[in-house]
């Protein structure tokens, strides 16, 4: 019987990548992702994993080398944060466009300037439309399980798209949690060796990355978009399969105390744990608030989400990124568009918080519940104006 053990979440993710038997890792150090790649480097150095670790000279080259390795048929993993994600931004779109099933752990961190090594989600939000499947983790166990599931989703012949596992910098990446690392034989049974369709090999020469003239570009992008949207079916299958085999069930959209409430918080990532605490405190005061948490952000789980907010009168959409001059935060705009096109009569409010590692206390979410702010503007929680 495998026991849970206290382990730093970053270290556990590296162990999960090892359990997934990754074959090529190309990574560049950046806080707060470093512990993941340090530990993987150590695992490879100790001969505990048959893999090549490429010490690339930048994140741009990290993602480029991952593309080369994936094209050659290797199971490929990398990890980054913030500026690193932005430096590889160009190649993110190419990895998805060329349908490489790369898995990346993005340890979410604030973007410069001002420089901040601390957590928020402005990095992933700037890359959200890069064609990657995007998962958000609430806790360490989820991050470990998601790493294993990510390869199964990415490499499915119906998908063949890169997967990004998002976890909040420090508040999740650097905490020690009780985590159960599944036995290798169970992971092997769940996740067979990668069997690519096309690879770069002289026995069967192929050209990859040909350019698209106007008469073909639209069709190429449409095919990619279709694959991304259709991947939801596979994601659900993999989540279910994982639940059956490992006894831990996950859904694309998770709910907490949400069934009978007229109000719900909407959130992504580890901040949802704080929100749950707030919901418990509110319950003690006799107030009922729900939480709808998006584990899956791309493709946006539209139907699951609409079902989760059925009957709601009011939503507080919590985001850890500045909108950069947009009408609202990126998550709010997704939801507002859905509410409009589906004729929902629902009050929407947009709260920005937890930027650059700023702590958010449960009391602040309780205030959101008891003192609604106007949805006509964004509200930045706790800002000193």
């Amino acid at each position: 019987m495998t026991m849970k053990k206290g382990i730093e979440v970053s270290i556990a993710i590296a162990d999960a990548a090892k359990l997934a038997r990754v074959e090529v890792i190309a990574a560049y150090p950046i806080t707060p992702q470093t512990h993941i790649v340090e530990h993987l480097s150590e695992i490879v150095a100790n001969g505990e994993l048959e893999a090549k670790y490429i010490n690339v000279e930048s994140e741009h080259s990290a993602m480029s080398a991952c593309c080369g390795a994936s094209a050659t048929g290797a199971r490929t993993f990398t990890s980054t944060s913030a500026q690193g994600l932005e430096l590889m931004h160009e190649i993110l779109f190419i990895a998805s466009g060329m349908r490489f099933p790369i898995v990346m752990a993005t340890v979410n961190r604030a973007l410069s300037s001002p420089l901040s090594i601390w957590g928020d989600q402005s990095d992933v939000m700037a890359a959200r439309d890069s064609g990657w499947i995007m998962l958000f983790c609430e806790n360490g166990q989820e991050a470990v399980d998601s790493t294993i599931m990510a390869f199964k989703i990415a490499e499915d012949r119906r998908v063949l798209l890169p997967v990004m596992i998002n976890l909040d910098g420090f508040s999740l990446s650097h905490v020690i949690e009780p985590i159960l690392l599944p036995p290798q034989e169970d992971v092997d049974a769940f996740l067979p060796s990668y069997n690519p369709v096309y690879t770069l090999h002289p026995d069967k020469p192929v050209t990859m990355g040909a350019y698209g003239m106007p008469e073909i570009y639209t069709e190429a992008k449409f095919a990619q978009e279709t694959a991304l949207r259709n991947s939801k079916v596979v994601i659900d299958e993999v989540l279910e399969d994982f639940g059956k085999k490992f006894g831990r069930s996950y859904k694309a959209v998770e709910k907490y105390n949400n069934d009978k409430t007229e109000f719900a918080f909407i959130g992504l990532g580890s901040i949802c744990e704080n929100i749950k605490t707030s919901i418990d405190y509110l319950k003690d005061e006799g107030k009922e608030a729900g939480l709808v948490q998006l584990r899956l952000f791309r493709p946006f789980p539209k139907d699951d989400f609409l079902k989760a907010i059925e009957g709601k009168k009011r939503l507080a959409i919590i985001e850890r990124a500045m909108p950069g001059g947009a009408t609202y935060g990126p998550l709010f705009n997704e939801i507002a568009a859905l509410a409009h096109t589906h004729g929902l009569d629902i009050a929407l409010e947009n709260y920005i918080c937890g930027l650059g590692g700023r702590d958010v206390q449960p009391e602040e979410f309780m205030d959101v519940f008891t003192s609604p702010q106007s949805g006509k503007n964004i509200t930045v929680l706790g800002v000193r104006e």
């Binding site: 480029s64 050659t72 090999h201």
Partner: protein, 308 residues
């Protein structure tokens, strides 16, 4: 001592891996350089290529000019992509997932993709010691986007972003010495080549292929379109570039320099510059300035090669 020639007019591989039907300009010596090199690298080769002329003329979907496995990812990362390919081949062979076989990896880019935007990725890949050959096909400007200057554009050349004018005499900087930068990484093999000397080029490609570690080939690729010369003159201008010392042929094998062209004398640089539209605005004093620089570089190269 000069090695015995392994390739000649009567004895060289007939097989083609860059086949006919591509969309290069008339007289393009760049595709010629790659074609000659690939004859030597042979069938068991994987090529990663940067965005640029050679990429755009060879692979408009669904067509391809390459009969070897080939991949294009982006502009500045041919060497990084090659690092991934080489590492993946190694681990997949070690794990027994693909049969053990000697497969050579080539990364190729133009002068912009090498000496400007791709320099960091190249330096990283050379430093890490991947077993691959990097081929820079240098036509001395960003020709694919319409003749903009790069750091490899020679002094005085007219490009669309280094135009001569009242306050300009064209490119105001000296050509970046990319082979020397590659050699500074202490890699086992660096060479310059030019398709005007096809067998010299092929011999160097052979050495690059047989190098245990990174190798770097810098091929001067005469571009009639960008240099403003007649399309039939590409081979001739390649020869003039070499014979004038504007682009000397040499190799650096395990740190040892060796000039691979005649070293007794150079023709005047004016012989090379005249007739090229990109240099037609140059005055005598600027040409003299260029001659001084080229002569000094030639003397330095001779010194490095141990020639007095």
């Amino acid at each position: 001592m000069r090695l015995k020639k392994i390739y000649s007019y009567t004895d060289h591989p007939e097989v083609e891996y860059a086949v006919s039907g591509h969309r290069a300009c008339q007289g393009c010596a760049e595709i010629l350089g790659l074609r000659l090199a690939l004859k030597v690298f042979g069938k068991d080769t994987i090529m990663t290529m940067a965005t640029g002329c050679m990429e755009i003329i060879s692979t408009p979907f669904p067509l391809t000019d390459w009969t070897i496995p080939w991949i294009h990812v982006a502009f500045e990362n041919a060497a990084a992509v090659a690092s991934g390919v080489e590492s993946a081949l190694k681990i997949l062979m070690e794990k027994g997932k693909i049969p053990k076989k000697d497969i050579h990896v080539i990364a190729s880019a133009g002068d912009g993709g090498t000496s400007d935007i791709g320099l960091q990725a190249l330096s990283g890949a050379l430093e890490r010691g991947h077993k691959f050959t990097y081929i820079c096909v240098d036509n001395e400007a960003y020709m694919n986007t319409g003749i903009q200057r790069s750091s490899a554009t020679p002094f005085g050349a007219m490009t669309t972003t280094s135009p001569p004018g009242k306050k300009s005499m064209g490119q105001a900087t000296w050509k970046k010495n990319m082979p020397k930068i590659a050699a500074a990484h202490n890699i086992p093999y660096v060479a310059t080549a030019c398709p005007s000397y096809p067998f010299d080029l092929m011999e160097k490609a052979k050495k690059a292929k047989n190098t245990n570690g990174p190798s770097y080939l810098h091929i001067l690729s005469v571009c009639p379109t960008g240099w403003r010369i007649p399309t039939e003159a590409a081979i001739e201008y390649g020869r003039l570039a070499v014979r004038s010392g504007a682009f000397p042929l040499y190799e650096v094998e395990n740190g040892k320099y060796r000039i691979t062209q005649k070293t007794d004398r150079l023709i005047p640089i004016s012989e090379y510059l005249k007739g090229q539209g990109r240099f037609r605005h140059l005055t005598d004093d600027i040409i003299e300035n260029i001659q001084t620089r080229i002569s000094a570089e030639w003397e330095e190269l001779k010194f490095l090669s141990g020639i007095k």
